[in-house]
Symmetry: D2
Subunit: 320 residues, 4 copies
Amino acid sequence: MLKSIAVMTSGGDSPGMNAAARAVVRTALYEGVKVWGIRDGYHGLLEEDMFEMESKDVGDIIQRGGTFLGTARCKRWKTPEGRMLGYQHLVDRGIQGLCVIGGDGSLRGASLLSKETGIPIVGLPGTIDNDVWGSDYTIGCDTAANTIIDAINKLRDTASAHRRVIVMEVMGRNSGWLALVSGISGGAEYILVPEEPFDLEKICEDMKEAYKKGKRYILVVVAEGAGSGQEIGQYIAEHTKLDTRVSVLGHIQRGGSPSVIDRVRASQLGEQAALALISGLSDIVFGFSKGRVVSIDLHDSVNNKKKLDPDYLHLSKVLF
Amino acid sequence: MLKSIAVMTSGGDSPGMNAAARAVVRTALYEGVKVWGIRDGYHGLLEEDMFEMESKDVGDIIQRGGTFLGTARCKRWKTPEGRMLGYQHLVDRGIQGLCVIGGDGSLRGASLLSKETGIPIVGLPGTIDNDVWGSDYTIGCDTAANTIIDAINKLRDTASAHRRVIVMEVMGRNSGWLALVSGISGGAEYILVPEEPFDLEKICEDMKEAYKKGKRYILVVVAEGAGSGQEIGQYIAEHTKLDTRVSVLGHIQRGGSPSVIDRVRASQLGEQAALALISGLSDIVFGFSKGRVVSIDLHDSVNNKKKLDPDYLHLSKVLF
Amino acid sequence: MLKSIAVMTSGGDSPGMNAAARAVVRTALYEGVKVWGIRDGYHGLLEEDMFEMESKDVGDIIQRGGTFLGTARCKRWKTPEGRMLGYQHLVDRGIQGLCVIGGDGSLRGASLLSKETGIPIVGLPGTIDNDVWGSDYTIGCDTAANTIIDAINKLRDTASAHRRVIVMEVMGRNSGWLALVSGISGGAEYILVPEEPFDLEKICEDMKEAYKKGKRYILVVVAEGAGSGQEIGQYIAEHTKLDTRVSVLGHIQRGGSPSVIDRVRASQLGEQAALALISGLSDIVFGFSKGRVVSIDLHDSVNNKKKLDPDYLHLSKVLF
Amino acid sequence: MLKSIAVMTSGGDSPGMNAAARAVVRTALYEGVKVWGIRDGYHGLLEEDMFEMESKDVGDIIQRGGTFLGTARCKRWKTPEGRMLGYQHLVDRGIQGLCVIGGDGSLRGASLLSKETGIPIVGLPGTIDNDVWGSDYTIGCDTAANTIIDAINKLRDTASAHRRVIVMEVMGRNSGWLALVSGISGGAEYILVPEEPFDLEKICEDMKEAYKKGKRYILVVVAEGAGSGQEIGQYIAEHTKLDTRVSVLGHIQRGGSPSVIDRVRASQLGEQAALALISGLSDIVFGFSKGRVVSIDLHDSVNNKKKLDPDYLHLSKVLF
């Protein structure tokens, strides 16, 4: 059993990272294990920006967006020398294992450290895109989806007043999950995702038909991986002659106080990560599958591509 | 295969009922089946307050709280004569099956109708309490939990300013689910639920200790089934001499625009309910288990008592 | 005293237009005067898309964004023939006066109608930009400013996690009001408005200095009239080498349930507009000055340019 | 000109207190004057819980509810000995003037200190009740009113589903301001305030009539000074036999991230308070009148009772 572990957040932030880090810290302390917080991800590890944590250091943070530990890019981590230096900084403090909360890139970086030095590593999927293989869920995806439907509600007000087409671009470079669930929830007429082909010309024909029949507005949700909202909007405007507006939500999707689901699940994941790490496990990522926490091989997780839930794809076709 | 079905909402309303009814209607129409909407639950059925629905009748409602179909109490439904009259009103219109969205009482009433007349009945669990046996989820529970943590956030602001104990009573006469998840999410120090015994005297001792150590506020979340917030607050005030305030959220918990989870899951349940009913199935309730839609025997559902998720109970102890 | 009036919304919509229209309708009915609603602005007037209204037609709308009456562009209104036709449609129904809720362009169009036909016209300033001369306030500006600070809160979470510069472009082609109040409220380090010159090069120097001293993030709010958020962001990124992100909120700013201020003030303005119109007044716009409803000459209102409140400009310099 | 001042928050907290304190601090520093923060109001002053502040001590707080300085009750302050001790603690640190942000009681306490010791005192009205004589506005009242209409929106959903009467009790022991503006904004059918008599029996008769005509729900907003929501609800239930529910919002009204108005006005007030105090003024309270900051004699402010705005009272009658 390990006696001392550390936790960091890395890569793009997502709502619920604080809840996850809090659960890691409190579980470790509950188990009588020392726990260190590393600031600004791998950058902070190389700069030795780290501190031993007490329970109160994670008080009053479960409701906050962002990450109180900070995160940063770190080029030096990409070199073996950088990673060896980071390892040394852990060893200097007697830290025997590391929990990394972040997306794909961050987990890959952690995997290399484990291979090269043998130090136990456990990962948690912190990204709003919900694109981690082996897990139905990633920390922050529920809050981000709710942020999007709030924006859709506001756009719908004004779209309906003006008889407009609204094109909303949401995050998801490789994954249409956010577009799909927020589109279903927001009552979008069209949902464009990278995983599924679509025919813009035909969509424009359908739209013209719908307006003739009296439709007051049409909502199109586009995952950034399926195309630029701006370009798609322009195409629609030209081909339908309908009044078309584009909204690109951008980084707002990463912020905000986390939802209940993101707080609870991040807490469950944080607890399991701490317990696994303390028991000496390594090279695993914790996620959710079938409603329960599951452990996924770190290698499998980063080397496989997750597919969109076919039930959601089906639903998006039946209900509109 | 049935040619014509009807849908109603009954009992206490919950956010997402509109999404469920919308999915029932659109699925039926997609399958080429007629679908009727019954207003104000069994009351409307007896009053013949019903209309055949088109797709646009459920447009622009997925984002609304409450139920556009309405709901009401109905004493006459409790008599066999009442139910036979309701059945006659369905038969008069050629309606061959009924989907009831509501809580325990409503599903029981539906079960009697099925037994006495043989008409197919499918139920959907519409209640914020998440207390339906066989399902991890009921329509509205996620929105309600998020409403509670918003309120907790506001109370925390003022509690922290004043060094107070805050007691928040939330809904859940037989079930501590809402209290448990909102307590975990809100970072509550104590969560009192009907399913677990608690020792108020000891809690008061702990509180006094925590204040001495500098704690700025303490949050207690109480399920209404575990005791009156008012009485528990008074007990704490007397035994700790700490400045204690009580908040009873009340019916606000039932309202509000539904969350993403409640919109998506209610839509999935509505689709499955319509498909099952159209295929002639009866006496089942659809819910979620292990992340997927499942069908539950209506009888089992209303006659068994759901237990609290032990993972959540455990979590509430480790993290605080 | 007029016996029958009409109300329309025109131009870009803004939150609170519904409250204003509701107050016009209910005040007219309270005074025993007939009141018509015209759909989709001048376009609906030309298409004769109008209906006599009852009190319940404006029930349950005070909390809604957008405008239930709709609004649309109308080229034909720009011709004297178009306006004469619209006038005829009013006369046909015995309508003796018109209340127009909208921005500058809409009020100008109304002014022409009044000049050419003599029909009494009263205007209400419906725009989020708060740029109507003679008034401290326009319908929707408070809701829009609150929408912006909610977005700023979310961006701040993620900016702080990453040590970033955030550039947020908000609406206001001719006016920096929204940028100024949301910037002050959101704690922006820099607020760029069309009314005041700024020196981007110097700003970049200051930013670099601030980061050296440990600042975790910098927020720049830009009114669209002061420059493109995208271009300003690029300039900052190049000149400071800091991680810079741009957010363009877009039409979300026009939507959302109106705030208390927008509901109450729109109601007060609607009441005064109806009373003035009924008494036969014409060519005035109602606004707020020194906390009270005031009437402004329609001509003055559209021909003068409003200045930014110097108190706000001063405040933005002292507090940051 | 003073060289060193202090600021505290006292009494019940309200949203925007942080913005006010921030403006006091930054204005003082901008003017080259030292500024101290006192924690937990008069209690902290007696306990010498105070610290000299820098600009960054008030960074990242403008968006927070509550008060980062804390507030507490203090019995000892009611004695001349207590106040003399507090004065001594100020003198010990070279503090020459005090800015108190709080309600009536807090300002009275400050007034005594000024009289007894001659130290300059400037007050800011921090209370959600908007009941300070001489000012149209108090810090926090806009946020509280918006919190109430959010709750009304949620209750409306469920009330409409059930055909219910909803009685909502809001804060305001001596003042009906909050009830009045939130009632007007929320479209309440009845608004009961301490300043105006009402006839519950007649109200019940009207309600029965309205339900017969098909009204789906009725909303009654009650200021706590006009009666207990619980008792009024019970009376209505008994006399109308309508399904009646009561909601008591409680302390949630004091919390939440401040609105734009509360942030901007609190900032303006804080700036003026600091400037006045530094220039040696004393015994004044800053408020808003006719849209501008005004100074009010402290004595007048606490000894006169503010009346409800007759325009609002009138509006509440015309629009419903």
